[in-house]
Symmetry: C2
Subunit: 176 residues, 2 copies
């Protein structure tokens, strides 16, 4: 994906200059909560066996080392997303993250023994949980309802854009 | 996709029994606004040439007949989504809608002369626009902020679930 294509995707998601400013503000609010956000989402995943298995060993036993290894990358990903400095390196990394959810590269980074592919429908289907729970984190530092709403709209757009880039790894050549 | 798989996807998206009730309420609020919602989204698409082209003739000229033919189906889709009666027929239809965005079946229903495939990234990338604009429509009938928020959360989950089903048409066998 090129930066020109990214620009069109930003337009598609409705990401304006004002949204990018709101996203930076969201980053300030979320920065020190990012670890807690990741843990919250993983907590939701842990309650659903059909999702939890992709973070477990292939034999279905717990695998805390795997979660611990990826956690700081996930936290950093939140902060990088909110920083909004989406250059070619960031873009390439989103494509890499996509592949790391699929049989192309899952488990490779951490040499993990876990199911080798997360179905696309579970990646996309989980978006609402990430969208909606983030609003609570945005509201935790005393901002007005309107301020939270504006940061949350920017987050919704940015998050969807990033996960949309991930989906390239799942799509037939030329169809993405 | 089976109804059992749909149930797992509902769980993934966080769709609770209370959300399904809120979705019905959203349907009551949105019912007579569904046409206006479709027109709003199409208005946004019309301002972006990289999106607008998929609703135009292959030579790039306007194609109002094509938009007019699909509009009542789109309106009905909103109402069916909010009705929440997601049986096998509804499920199969979501898969059909997915194919109708791709080179497998785009243009077929209306025998249209239009580009034959909408890239997945534009389908997914447009989700935030549909999510966020719907909140305004939900707020138009005098409900409290909390009531609007609850209906909107349900809408966000249901919409993402339906579009997630569409993506099966874009995905390699076994990866979805």
């Amino acid at each position: 994906m090129t930066l020109e294509e990214l620009e069109l995707l930003k337009q598609t998601a409705g990401l304006t200059t004002e949204d990018m400013r709101q996203l930076l503000l969201a980053g300030e609010v979320l920065g020190d909560q990012a670890g807690e956000m990741v843990d919250t989402w993983r907590g939701v995943i842990a309650t659903q066996p059909h999702l939890a298995r992709y973070a477990m060993r292939t034999d279905g036993s717990p695998y805390p080392e795997y979660g611990a290894a990826s956690r700081p990358r996930f936290v950093q990903w939140i902060n990088d997303l909110c920083a909004g400095d989406w250059d070619q390196e960031w873009l390439d990394y989103q494509e890499t993250i996509g592949r790391r959810h699929t049989r192309a590269e899952k488990n490779k980074t951490d040499n993990a023994d876990s199911p080798d592919h997360i179905p696309l429908r579970y990646v996309l289907g989980f978006l609402p949980v990430v969208i909606l729970t983030t609003k609570d984190f945005l509201a935790k530092k005393g901002h007005s309802a309107d301020e939270v709403e504006a940061m949350h709209a920017a987050w919704t757009k940015a998050l969807t854009l990033a996960v949309t880039i991930w989906t390239a790894a799942y799509t037939r050549e030329g169809d993405w």
